[in-house]
């Protein structure tokens, strides 16, 4: 029997401006995805069809994005995907405004878990960018027979990076939720660090992985995709484990001018009439003639007027940049423009 999946978008203390009005798993990434698509797709590729997505506040765009789950083949009569929203009772008489982290969320949703008779649960962060073979991780978990397996990535130095992915047996999870103290629960999610030996509780993912924790991280991991073909292909172009996302009905990108787009990732519905270099353009971005965009990330619907110049800019959705504007950040400090701002 396949395990169930639980994806958490319930992080405390994330200070990135990208979270102004969206939960962390809804942060757009790489032209056409949201961070949750990576966890969702990893689960779907491993054959998991029962998935709970647990969110804190500001979940409207996440809910819109997931919809019925149709685009991940998760609109099912048996199982499928469900969004768990924050208004649940943790203790009698106390209604929290929002889940405060994974443990709070788990304790709050215990009633949702009881009827799920899966042998294993895969708990994941909703903001990790990776394409882990969870099918292999699951086999490893079953073979080793431990109550919990953690999935980590390994850097060249031998240091591990915790991907926030835990495979738990049902009995271990319920034991945690009913019999253990809050501290013991917290310990399950405590980040794993240090160098590995071949621990039987650790499944090592040898490929790319990141979990951007702030604007700078987010910026550099995004721009990296424009120059690192190996990472880009491993992450986004694996035919065996595609990253699925919500489908939009928009037309292909239109290129007007000559020879002026280099080292870029683009989504559908862009109209490019200016120069664009080393940048990531989401759906429906328009760059007018005479405008230059470099080392920048432009979210959906951004408009860059004639003669404007952007460098190291992260423009949120629907930003309008008029004519002749010069906006520049730096690779160590990108300039963030909030949603729908007119410049």
């Amino acid at each position: 029997m396949k395990p169930a999946g639980i994806i958490f978008s319930t992080l405390l203390g994330h200070k990135a401006p990208l979270l102004e009005d969206r939960t962390v798993a809804a942060i757009p990434f790489a032209c056409r995805y949201r961070l949750v698509d990576f966890s969702l797709s990893m689960l779907v590729s491993a054959g998991v069809t029962d998935i709970l997505v647990v969110t804190d506040g500001n979940y409207r765009s996440l809910a819109d994005h997931i919809g019925t789950g149709k685009d991940w083949d998760l609109a099912r009569r048996r199982g499928g995907i469900r969004l768990i929203t924050p208004f649940r009772t943790v203790a009698p008489g106390i209604v929290p405004q929002s889940f405060r982290g994974h443990v709070d969320a788990l304790l709050g949703m215990r009633r949702d878990l009881v009827p799920m008779h899966h042998e294993e649960f895969i708990l994941m962060r909703g903001d990790v960018v990776a394409n882990v073979d969870l099918g292999k991780a699951l086999l490893f978990h079953r073979r080793e027979g431990n109550p919990m397996t953690s999935v980590v990535a390994r850097a060249e130095t031998g240091e591990v990076a915790d991907l926030g992915i835990r495979i738990l047996s049902r009995s271990f999870l319920f034991d945690l939720l009913s019999a253990k103290s809050r501290e013991e629960c917290e310990a399950v999610f405590a980040p794993i660090t240090g160098k590995t030996t071949s621990a039987s509780t650790l499944f090592i993912h040898e490929g790319y992985a990141s979990a951007p924790t702030g604007l700078l991280d987010y910026f550099s991991e995004s721009i990296r995709l424009t120059s690192d073909a190996v990472v880009r292909r491993a992450l986004l172009c694996d035919p065996a484990r595609p990253i699925l996302t919500k489908v939009h009905s928009t037309s292909p990108a239109a290129y007007r001018t000559c020879d002026s787009v280099h080292a870029c990732l683009l989504a559908d519905d862009c109209v490019i009439d200016g120069e664009v270099r080393n940048s990531v353009l989401f759906r429906g971005v328009r760059v007018e003639r005479g405008a230059t965009v470099e080392n920048s990330i432009l979210f959906g619907g951004t408009y860059v007027g004639r003669g404007s110049a952007l460098s190291c800019v992260v423009a949120d959705k629907g930003v309008f940049i008029g004519e002749g504007r010069h906006l520049s950040g730096h690779t160590t400090m990108p300039l963030y423009i909030p949603k729908e701002r007119k410049v």
Partner: protein, 387 residues
């Protein structure tokens, strides 16, 4: 399941499209790729749902596998409904009147039982062969207000091309008094689009008449419409104003793709409320490499461009290697174009491989000189595929 509808659509998608040669050798014409991420049938299907018609029968016959799979349950066009929705209607054995479809009228005749399920007042007959955006509800409104028994949608064509079409000669109030099929000397420039709205009773009556006539070719344009005229039925024309392209030949299919590259294309953003929907596969974003040179082109997701692309339309998953050049061409899904290969004025069908150094077509090509590379073909290095 019985479910009353005012108007349902019957979409004729069974034709071979033999003038599209290799492009339709293994697939029906409506399933042919168009505009990077669409198929021809996306246009009539999207027009239906955008016009408020949520019940569509799609009549397939020739090489229907790709088409049936593509339509599926109709979800991309919002046609996956419990009450109505899209139904694929292939010919079948077993009934007294069932057999391979012998013509457009016969195909509808064999599916009258499907139509009766919805007890509609009106039936809209469409073909899956054309690129256009049309609000059929306006045609229905005009059909009702004139008390017509049948309305034919017409479009203005250049006089020089009129002999290719069925021409409708009308009085000032739009009533058709003469219908000439492919006239040598056309009297006017209003061509039938092959789109009809019938009162259901009229449709049934004339289909039965047509079936009973052994000399008939069982075709709407050749037989049923002329019969309605002879009987003096109220037959009206509804003028369509807008882009309409028959994509039945290699040249016109190529040209329709090229038409998408202008500012005024049928897919332009100002027509967002009347979107064309299509079934999308999960593809990564398109990547444009350091050495890429792109101009005046339309490129879909999942592509990787490292070479030159000029005045072309590329579908999903196409890769253009360094030094390769694509000019004035339509490249369909998952084609791989090797280093230094050159493609001019061509349509390259899905999954073809153009190896390094190969040359397809010629810089002297044009609408009447389009090279077609069939699906899955491998054009080897140094080889030239002539026009």
């Amino acid at each position: 399941m019985f479910c009353k509808k005012e108007c349902i659509a019957m979409l004729l998608a069974g034709g071979q499209g033999s003038r599209l040669c290799d492009l339709t050798r293994h697939t029906a014409k409506p399933a042919v790729s168009f505009g990077g991420k669409y198929r021809i049938i996306d246009f009539p299907l999207s027009n239906c749902i955008n016009s408020g018609i949520d019940t569509v029968g799609v009549l397939t016959q020739y090489q229907p596998l790709a088409l049936n799979e593509y339509i599926g349950n109709g979800a991309p066009w919002d046609l996956d409904r419990t009450r109505g929705g899209v139904t694929v209607l292939p010919p079948y054995r077993g009934g007294a009147h069932s057999d391979w479809y012998r013509g457009t009228a016969n195909a509808i005749y064999q599916n009258l039982a499907f139509i009766r399920q919805y007890d509609p007042e009106y039936v809209l007959i469409l073909s899956g062969d054309h690129i256009y955006k049309m609000d059929y509800s306006q045609m229905l409104a005009s059909h009702k207000s004139r008390g017509a028994r049948c309305t034919v949608a017409t479009v203005t064509v250049p006089y020089a091309e009129a002999p290719r079409f069925g021409i409708c000669n009308t009085t000032d109030d739009g009533r058709i008094y003469e219908f000439e099929e492919k006239p040598k000397h056309p009297k006017n420039d209003q061509a039938s689009m092959g789109i009809y709205i019938f009162n259901t009773r009229t449709l049934v009556e004339y289909l039965e008449k047509d079936e009973a006539d052994p000399a008939s070719d069982n075709d709407f344009g050749k037989n049923v419409i002329p019969c309605l005229l002879r009987e003096g039925e109220a037959l009206y024309a509804h003028k369509f104003r807008g882009y309409w392209k028959d994509v039945g030949t290699v040249g016109s299919l190529w040209e329709a793709n090229m038409d998408l590259l202008g500012d005024d294309s049928i897919l332009k953003r100002s027509e967002r409320d009347f979107r064309i929907y299509s079934r999308n596969t999960a593809r990564p974003p398109q990547f444009v490499g350091e050495g890429a040179r792109i101009s005046d082109s339309m490129i879909s997701e999942g592509t990787e461009i490292h070479g030159l692309v000029s005045h072309s339309v590329l579908s999903g998953g196409v890769s253009v290697s360094e030094g390769a050049e694509v000019h004035h061409s339509v490249i369909m899904s998952d084609v791989r174009i090797g280093r230094g290969a050159r493609i001019y004025y061509a349509i390259v069908d899905s999954e073809a491989i153009i190896e390094a150094g190969a040359v397809v077509g010629s810089p002297d090509g044009g609408k009447d000189n389009i090279t077609v590379v069939p699906a899955g073909a491998r054009v080897t290095a140094g080889r030239e595929v002539p026009v």
